[in-house]
């Protein structure tokens, strides 16, 4: 199945929902609700509440994130917001401000 890709010079203002993997290279504002993986690539800007199975951030994310499986903040990432996931990885070099809830 083809993934959904929001290209680097595309801006989405609103809500994205779906069942297939979502890759963001551009800008998304609003809300993201994915049944599968969400990848915020390096250079991407997301100002949205994000919900996904796995959420991987290499770019900039402002908003609350709920990952049903795993949240990963890669070395170059910048995230401001609350993170909720059973597994959370924050890489060396990642910038993060917010609460972490691992449901323990």
């Amino acid at each position: 199945m083809a993934n959904t890709v929001i290209g680097s010079s595309i801006v989405v203002d609103g809500e994205i929902s779906g069942e297939e993997p979502l890759t963001i290279l551009g800008t998304v504002k609003g809300k993201i609700a994915a049944a599968s993986s969400v990848v915020v690539e390096s250079g991407a800007t997301v100002e949205a509440d994000v919900e996904g199975q796995t959420v991987t951030v290499s770019g900039k994310l402002t908003g609350n994130v709920t990952a049903r499986e795993k949240l990963e903040l890669r070395p170059e990432s910048k995230m401001v917001g609350n993170a909720k996931a059973p597994r959370i990885v924050v890489a060396d070099g990642a910038t993060f401000k917010g609460n972490v809830d691992m449901d323990v």
Binding site: A2, V5, G7, I10, V12, G14, E19, E20
Partner: protein
């Protein structure tokens, strides 16, 4: 940014709101709201769009409802179902396409001839 890297709304994805940019966009899923591109738009067969659409070249193969404005050309292909106002300097409607609405091509009419709806 060249359009080598594709921008795709997959078949099981819905976008509600505004999509804008200068990169070619292919829609296989659903978009509701507004699409404003300085580039080309393709609505694939199976894709559905309920939005105000602006693009350079628009190619419609799926279901589209709403005014569609193309800066250069607009193609309504045989597999598509389209309703709304189409505006472009060049418009193609293929045999088999289902279309309901208005077409505006911005033509210079000879003197003495008035627009039908003028």
């Amino acid at each position: 940014m060249a359009s080598e890297e594709s921008c795709l709304i997959g078949s099981k994805t819905t976008v509600r709101g505004q999509v804008s940019g200068k990169q070619d966009l292919v829609i296989e899923g659903r978009v509701e709201g507004h699409i404003g591109l300085d580039s080309n738009l393709t609505v694939e067969e199976g894709g559905s769009v309920e939005a105000d659409v602006e693009a350079t070249v628009a190619t419609l193969r799926g279901e589209v409802r709403g005014p569609v404005t193309a800066l250069r050309s607009l193609v309504v292909e045989a597999s598509s179902r389209v309703a709304g106002k189409l505006k472009a300097p060049s418009i193609t409607i293929e045999d088999g396409a289902r279309f309901s609405g208005e077409i505006e091509m911005d033509v210079e009419l000879p003197a003495g001839v008035t627009h039908g709806n003028a």
